[in-house]
Assembly symmetry: C2
Homo-oligomer: 552 residues x 2
């Protein structure tokens, strides 16, 4: 792999991973060939704990804005937020056809409807096994298992060669929908010769083979057998196969099922209509009816497995849910893992549910969740099956990509120079069957806060950090224009710095300090005051509030 | 177990778990008998991610202030921060003798010296096996293994009976210091009859037996064999046995060792002097010398395994360490697990070290860390060995206590009514060999921020949250006293709300809005303006900054 600056020529395939935060090429990947551009996935990421006030994060695709008319289409590999969530923002920039399998399309429609944009979107349904020509890209859709049905890997052919993109996948031999990964298609790709494999690295530090989704069934059976009251199951609203498993357990144990929370209700309705969620007609009851039934006759399917305060489970833990409360005798199942960064919030929700008298079941107490991503042995199997010339580990933090690369060398015999561990924005070029590092484009992320997209950057974030740490103090002075003397006692406004009711003495001393500085000021009163107060307040409190002085 | 209000009579033993945050009875436990009070441990907790600006957290021991002269002594079970860190604050309130084993005492001295309080403290050295009378409490010290040497469980005898407190423990059969847990002493307690066991619940959701600290040695050997450049190992400065293991690996592989970071240097020096860290005289070299040696001849022992920005490892990851940088060829070993809530920060440090060209080794990539706490089988063994009448699960979040209780019922045959799952501040009373729930005292936590202890509460925290989310906008108006008209253009100060350089238009519109409201005001201009601006800015940005208006 040689570093080389080269212009984007007709015969060159360029691949640019974009995405947010630590993960690489997770949320968006760009393919460029012969003046045409194909976008794979348009996902969001959730802010880290120190990204104060940020609602969510989208990939920075600014570098595409200059070649907007080259974009020929968008392909979405599956219906999870981190692959679909930014669709509205991407559509605003490039209103091109969007290709997705039926369930993924259904989830996109629910999402676009909420943004009032479903009419604008040019959605095209594809099915696993289909081949679609999108500009100069021949895209083949290959079914893969994941923790949502109807996921696909992609075979993308241009004259530069065939590139396989796994999407998020696991090699589940007994998936809930009985539809295993299409090994034959992957082998067929291999037979044609695969130039490069872009492969999911999420679980690169997990040895072995990820358990089948089916291992959850016995754990659920045990929960249903033992529960004497209501059962509440929390999971992602998009985890359709998990909802299917809960529905089957409810059937087996003679309970009715109700969906709670807008996104859970909407997704379930759509998935039932499309036939991805198979439930007998009398299984599902409205929540109002469920709440009137005997506790041991119902299971409530809720959102909030990540402890989000505004979700059903978050509100139940806090005691702020309007329709119903968690009561002693309830069994709550958290059928999910905390997304990195959410561990604290999820722990707090579990503890509060216990406090309210519920029995809470969560992994590792019981196997009520498994990962949707391939582990090490599956990654090696994928390499052995697809036999790519080059490997580009994607979907994971830098550490996972390094681990995936080490695995490919140690267990699949791929030489180091055939593996590209790259970061978001680092373009790769394929020419004459060789891979080259090309230039780097801005590949970071863009904060979305309220209606602002990208207007919050490092400087506003630093201000929020300072305010969050020590608050501010604001001093309003009225002085006599000629003598410079104070006309009134200084007015002080402060927030986030000290508890005012207990700080009368500190405020009185601060006023005296201000008066002293005013009395002996020799010119620049504002900066003298700010400097003096900074030292005075730090001495008094060991805190550093932002200080503002206005002299009227 | 019956709920009963009763006065603290002579014959009653009261136990009150205190502590911080989610964990119960972790940081401090109070024993009261016959007018005497014994305090066990004085620890701190680190703030959760949404506790903005807080330095650390101490237990709320306010309820003891009225009976200050009853406090007879403080016993510290081992030298970790969450059991020692609040010693300075507790000493300020009760300057009574502090009992600790030699290494624990050494760590307390280092800590107290830094606060300038070592002369004030009345430290008493005890050794495992000793019995000390502290007021009406006979305290027996029983050696237990943990991830720090010289930890003890306590047997606390009063006429009400014998209570055993495990402290933090694991049942390691091959500990690094070859000093296993004192099973004979625990059995002897059982022989005398144990009224209640207060037992560590940290790992109550982990099946099996926690691996010995010794399992780390082969993992370190592999790292030392393969590393071609420097090795940097990060762990807690108090994890003396881990430092011992790294020193032994360095000896085996012919490297010199240097300590980096103040707390690492001070603790190592103290532990070498006391004989708890056994290193040959020529193994340790100053960091300056180490940096001049060939990379493959040194190992650097650093702080910062939790990714703290101010630690050595945090600074190395950020590229802001003064003395040296991480360079390609370095091998960095994170010999620790992230404390809950630190996962994101630790991941970021790992990714950045990879970015700088280091090879980073961490669990689960290699077994370079094991837990210092007992798992389920050890908990059951402890119950079977000590044979208490009552179990009080402590040291863990509510969910761990519940899990410990379930385990005690299922695997150790203890009936539910003999187990007290209680929260901090809930007093237990033992009278005539029976356990009763007594009243609840304030058992929460106290924020320490700068020099302020307890002055930051929910209202300041809410202000910081609001400022962190959307910042503030401050409007300064000069109006004509008689006509009420504006004398100057409104002055606007804002931070954390929008990026000012890109927001000229918004600010201009905001000024126009202010002028409109002033022109048509009919009385309370300030509240009219605040109300109007709140709506105007929310419409424009979907954000809710704090709004302040001052009219001069």
């Amino acid at each position: 792999m040689r570093k080389k600056n080269s212009k984007n020529k007709g015969e060159t395939l360029r691949i640019v991973p974009l995405g947010g935060l630590g993960e690489i090429g997770k949320n968006m990947t760009v393919f460029e060939y012969g003046g045409d551009i194909l976008i794979v996935d348009t996902g969001i990421m959730f802010p880290e704990n120190d990204m104060l006030g940020i609602d969510y994060i989208i990939p920075d695709f600014q570098y595409l804005m200059d070649k907007r008319d080259q974009v020929k289409g968008i392909v979405i590999t599956h219906g999870h937020e981190d692959h679909t969530g930014a669709i509205y923002h991407v559509l605003e920039a490039f209103n091109v056809p969007i290709y997705a399998t039926p369930l993924t399309r259904g989830l996109l429609e629910v999402k676009l409807a909420r943004a009032g944009a479903q009419k604008k979107a040019r959605l095209q349904t594809v099915n696993a096994g289909d081949t679609v020509q999108i500009g100069k890209f021949k895209v083949e859709f290959c079914h893969v298992c994941h923790s949502i049905p109807d996921g696909v890997a992609l075979g993308i052919t241009t004259p530069a060669g065939l590139v396989v993109h796994t999407g998020d996948y696991k090699l589940d031999h007994t998936p809930v929908d009985n539809w295993p990964t299409d090994y034959a298609k992957l082998a067929e790709f291999a037979g044609r010769g695969v130039l490069a494999l872009l492969a999911d690295s999420t679980n690169a530090d997990r040895p072995g083979w990820t358990p089948s989704e089916r291992v959850i069934d016995p754990a659920f059976d045990k929960v249903f057998e033992e529960a004497e009251g209501r059962i509440l199951v929390a999971t992602f609203a998009s985890l359709i196969s998990r909802i299917q498993q809960v529905a089957e357990a409810a059937e087996r144990h003679g309970r009715k099922m109700a969906f709670v929370g807008t996104s859970m209700r909407e997704n379930a309705k759509m998935a039932i209509q499309l036939g991805y969620l198979k439930v007998s007609s009398d299984l599902v009851v409205p929540i109002d009816d469920a709440l009137k039934m005997k506790p041991r006759d119902v299971v409530l399917m809720c959102t909030g497995s990540q402890g989000e305060p505004s979700s059903i489970m978050g509100r139940l833990a806090a005691g702020t849910n309007r329709q119903f409360d968690v009561i002693p005798g309830d069994t709550v199942v958290l059928s999910s893992h905390p997304i990195p960064g959410n561990e604290e919030t999820v722990s707090r929700v579990i503890n509060r549910l216990f406090q309210r008298g519920a029995k809470v079941i969560y992994d590792p107490i019981a196997a009520v969740h498994v990962s949707g991503h391939a582990s090490q042995d599956e990654m090696v199997f994928m390499l052995n099956l697809v036999k790519p010339k080059y490997l580009v580990p994607v979907h994971g933090e830098l550490r996972h990509l390094h681990q995936h690369a080490a695995l490919a060398q140690q267990s699949a015999g791929l030489p180091a120079e055939r593996i590209a561990v790259i970061e978001n924005g680092q373009a790769l070029e394929f020419r004459n069957g060789e891979m080259h590092l090309a230039e780097r484009v801005p590949g970071g992320y863009v904060f979305v806060d309220g209606s602002g997209v990208g207007d919050i950057g490092p400087s506003v974030m630093r201000e929020r950090e300072a305010l969050a740490r020590d608050g501010f103090i604001f001093v309003n002075l009225k002085t006599d224009a000629s003598s410079g003397r104070l006309l009134e006692e200084p007015e002080i406004i402060t927030r986030g710095f000290v508890y005012l009711r207990d700080s009368e003495q500190l405020m009185a001393e601060t006023r005296r300090q201000i008066e002293k500085v005013v009395a002996r000021s020799n010119g620049n009163l504002q900066s003298e005051l700010e400097h003096n107060l900074r030292n005075f307040l730090f001495e008094a409190t060991r805190r550093r509030p932002m200080i503002f002085v206005v002299i009227n």
